[in-house]
């Protein structure tokens, strides 16, 4: 078994050697005369303002959370799509029924989050309601 992996190992070795030679060579041979403009992260363009490690608005996380659920749930339909053409006719009805029931659940939950305003970016329905409530008080 290990004999089959020898070419890969050689490839890894070659990659390491070539990289070392190129990077090491330029480091050894190249002249270094640093100026502020040269050490800047980008040679041209807008000068960076502040740290790159800013906090993201929480909307990103919320939308990502909603996305990942639907993303993964859709994967359940994958075996269905692969199989449904090859099924005998008497089995097809049952399988399509199951898939439909599943899709219905997905659609209900999608409509639920739509109506709840979870997908609105700026001013979700909940917030508007909250504001209205505060105004009334």
């Amino acid at each position: 078994m290990p004999a089959e992996y020898v070419p890969i190992l050689i490839l890894f070795g070659l990659a390491a050697v070539i990289t070392a030679v190129m990077v090491g060579g330029s480091w050894l041979l190249g002249p270094r005369r640093p100026t502020p403009a040269k050490t800047a992260p980008y040679e041209c363009g807008i000068t960076p303002v502040g740290s790159a490690r800013e906090r993201f608005p929480v909307h990103f996380y919320l939308t990502a959370m909603l996305f990942i659920i639907f993303d993964v749930e859709i994967a359940f339909l994958y075996p269905f799509f692969v199989m449904v053409r090859d099924l005998p006719t008497e089995a097809r009805g049952f399988v399509i029924g199951v898939a439909t029931a599943f899709a219905t659940l997905l659609i209900i939950t999608f409509l639920y989050e739509l109506k709840k305003g979870a997908l609105e970016w700026e001013d979700p329905v909940e917030h508007r309601r909250l504001k209205a409530e505060l105004k009334n008080q």
């Binding site: 929480v58 919320l62 990942i68 659920i69 993964v72 994967a75 075996p79």
Partner: protein, 106 residues
């Protein structure tokens, strides 16, 4: 070509599971703890798939594959609920370190 033996996959999965479990016990950041739990779930998936490879009949093989899909789905649902809780805590306290989450320890 000779196949990689099942025991190799199973050992790898067991190690991943152990790493995840150890991570849960020693890490402080809930998001990292949560990533460790995901690691454990993926170790389970690897175990399922390895065993599915060695099942004698098609039905048992497919069962293993379908279980993996279930586990992935459940993991996604867990992610959503867990991150939701973390976001709410962050809004309330501006920190999510588990050591500072200790109001209940009286």
């Amino acid at each position: 070509m000779t196949a990689v033996p099942a025991s190799a996959y199973l050992t790898l999965a067991a190690f991943l599971f152990a790493i995840g479990a150890a991570g849960v016990l020693i890490k402080r950041n809930p998001i990292v703890i949560f990533m460790c739990i995901e690691l454990m779930l993926n170790a389970v998936n690897l175990t399922f798939l390895t065993f599915a490879l060695h099942q004698p009949n098609l039905q048992a093989q497919v069962a293993g594959h379908v279980f993996v899909l279930f586990v992935i789905g459940v993991a996604a649902a867990e992610v959503a609920v867990g991150l939701g809780i973390i976001v709410v805590i962050f809004r309330l306290r501006e920190t999510i370190d588990v050591d500072s989450v200790s109001l209940l320890r009286e």
